[in-house]
């Protein structure tokens, strides 16, 4: 794990709860207490109504593949060993889109619209990335 070379997130005061939840293998996003919007990535105000009244919400982690690409060449030198790998946008059941990887199937089996579920990847002792696998 110590030799993990790929880019790691650097949590901010706004996003620590998200990454802490991921470490517990929970997917949490924010919800606006004023307008009800589901929010991702984590913010300090609701991007719809600019309210600071935000709550953390544990969600199911279910979603669908909105789009994907198969990286046949590394998109960064540190991803060399992973080629081919799937970079995807997943649409959560609650609405927000997030960037992720699809694991647990062959890259060419991924389809737009495919149901997926969160699959947590403990890439270092400190960081868990939220990936998805076929549901």
């Amino acid at each position: 794990m110590a030799d993990y070379k790929k880019p790691l997130p650097r949590p901010t005061v706004a996003s620590v709860p998200f990454w802490e939840a991921a470490k517990r293998h929970e997917l949490q996003i924010q919800q606006c207490g004023s307008c009800g919007a589901h929010i991702f990535y984590p913010r300090e105000v609701c991007p719809e109504c600019l309210s600071a009244n935000l709550q953390w919400l544990k969600v199911s982690g279910k979603g669908t593949v909105y789009s994907y690409t198969i990286a046949e060449a590394p998109t960064h030198p540190t991803f060399m060993e992973d080629v081919p790998y799937v970079i995807a946008i997943v649409e959560l059941a609650e609405g927000p889109h997030l960037t992720t990887n699809i694991t647990g199937c062959k890259p060419h089996e991924v389809r737009v619209g495919m149901p997926v579920v969160a699959a947590f990847d403990d890439v270092t002792p400190e960081v868990t990335l939220v990936k998805f696998r076929p549901a």
Binding site: P7, P9, R10, Y66, S67, I70, A71, I87, T99, G113
Partner: protein, 387 residues
């Protein structure tokens, strides 16, 4: 009130793109194209009282407009940095016109220059936005390639767009590049099979559908419509402009397949009082083939979802029924660092001035230019015309 017809581009200069880092710094490139553009416009250095500049990957710093003014010993009464990625040049054109119309200045130098990397300056490359680094980069969504591949894949899924249709854009633009002596890739035409057999980089995008970054720079000068009458070149009037934004990372775009080109182009055509069918050519920003396809749809040249069939059915070469990126586009001309989509604006101007040489579009008097920055994040559309 609008800026329609209030200002004109009266001169341009463009360095031939070079592979690799090149032997000049970005400021050195900016200096050379500035000397050339002032001469082309029939002006003297002291006539330049406005300065708009982009940013350079090879030399990225704060206070950049002052750095450029100091290096060139200009004394602008209006100056700024336009940081709209590949939409910067188009963004400069209308801002220059607006500043002139507002009485801030008379002759605005719009200039960019960039190197492939930072070797010439020994500086560090600029960082990506913090939020992209936190939520995209850990999954490999880094720089532009995968972002545009996500757009292409979604377009294919929603509308049945085919890889060979996207490839046709690269093929036609290469034909244009073969008539452009300064194009980096202008020595040999390519076929749809060549594109589809080129290395898959980020499925569904192949190597020949992806720009090749290089070293280069370009400049144009905007002046008032009144002063343009005495310019040595045929003045190219800014007839319409429109701009749109709203996301940085593609994951946060409201739609992957309907882009911000739509509102930008609508504004530009509305200001100009014309429609896509009136255009004699298009110079849409082309970092990838899919960028051109989506731009043609959203600018209204065909219906949403029909871009694939549209590019198949139309000849996009300089001799065709919809000449598109007549310089070869960045795909074949080269993409000078972050030179901000200058090549599209300049090719539009070149065609309208009648200086297109072997690739001149016959009787071209009006055309559409689009600048696109980031991952379809920044859009600026222009309608340019001559009288």
């Amino acid at each position: 009130m609008s800026i329609k017809g209030k200002a004109a581009i009266i001169g341009f200069a463009e360095m031939a793109p070079q592979k690799g880092d090149g032997a000049k710094t970005p400021l050195g490139i900016i200096s050379e194209v500035t000397r050339e553009v002032i001469s082309d416009a029939g002006l003297a250095k002291n006539d330049i009282d406005g300065l708009l500049t982009g940013w350079a990957l090879g030399e990225y710093s704060v206070l950049w407009p002052s750095v450029v003014a100091e290096y060139l010993q200009l004394q602008p009464r209006y100056f700024s940095q336009i940081e709209l990625g590949g939409a910067s040049a188009a963004g400069m054109a209308w801002r220059a016109a607006a500043a002139i119309e507002a009485g801030m200045c008379n002759n605005v130098l719009c200039v960019v220059g960039d190197t492939r990397g930072t070797k010439a300056t020994g500086m560090k490359p600029p960082a990506f936005p913090r939020l992209d680094s936190e939520f995209d980069a850990p999954y490999g969504l880094i720089a532009a390639n995968p972002g545009y591949a996500l757009i292409a894949r979604r377009h294919m899924a929603e509308f049945g767009t085919k890889p060979e249709q996207m490839a046709k854009i690269a093929v036609d633009q290469r034909k244009n590049a073969c008539k452009n002596p300064t194009a980096l890739f202008g020595s040999k035409e390519i076929t749809i099979d060549d594109v589809l057999n080129s290395r898959m980089i980020v499925d569904p995008l192949h190597l020949l559908e992806i720009v090749s970054p290089c070293t280069g720079g370009a400049a144009f000068i905007v002046t008032s419509a009144e002063r343009a009458k005495s310019a040595p070149n045929r003045p190219v009037y800014l007839l319409g402009a429109g701009e749109a934004g709203g996301h940085c990372g593609i994951t946060r775009a409201r739609s992957l397949t309907t882009s911000l080109v739509k509102p930008a182009a609508e504004s530009a055509f509305k200001m100009a009082g014309v429609s896509p069918k009136d255009m004699h050519f298009v110079q849409p920003y082309d970092c990838y083939t899919i960028t051109v396809l989506v731009t043609l749809e959203d600018a209204g040249f065909c219906k949403k979802g029909e871009g694939g069939r549209f590019v198949e059915e139309h000849d996009l070469t300089y001799k065709g029924d919809l000449p598109c990126n007549t310089h070869g586009g960045q795909l074949s001309f080269g993409q000078p660092g972050l030179a901000g989509g200058m090549s599209h604006v300049i090719e539009g101007v070149r065609q309208l001035m009648g200086r297109g040489g072997e690739r001149q579009v016959k009787d071209a008097t009006i055309g559409y230019v689009n600048g696109n920055g980031g991952i379809m994040s920044e859009q600026c559309s222009l309608v340019l015309g001559v009288q």
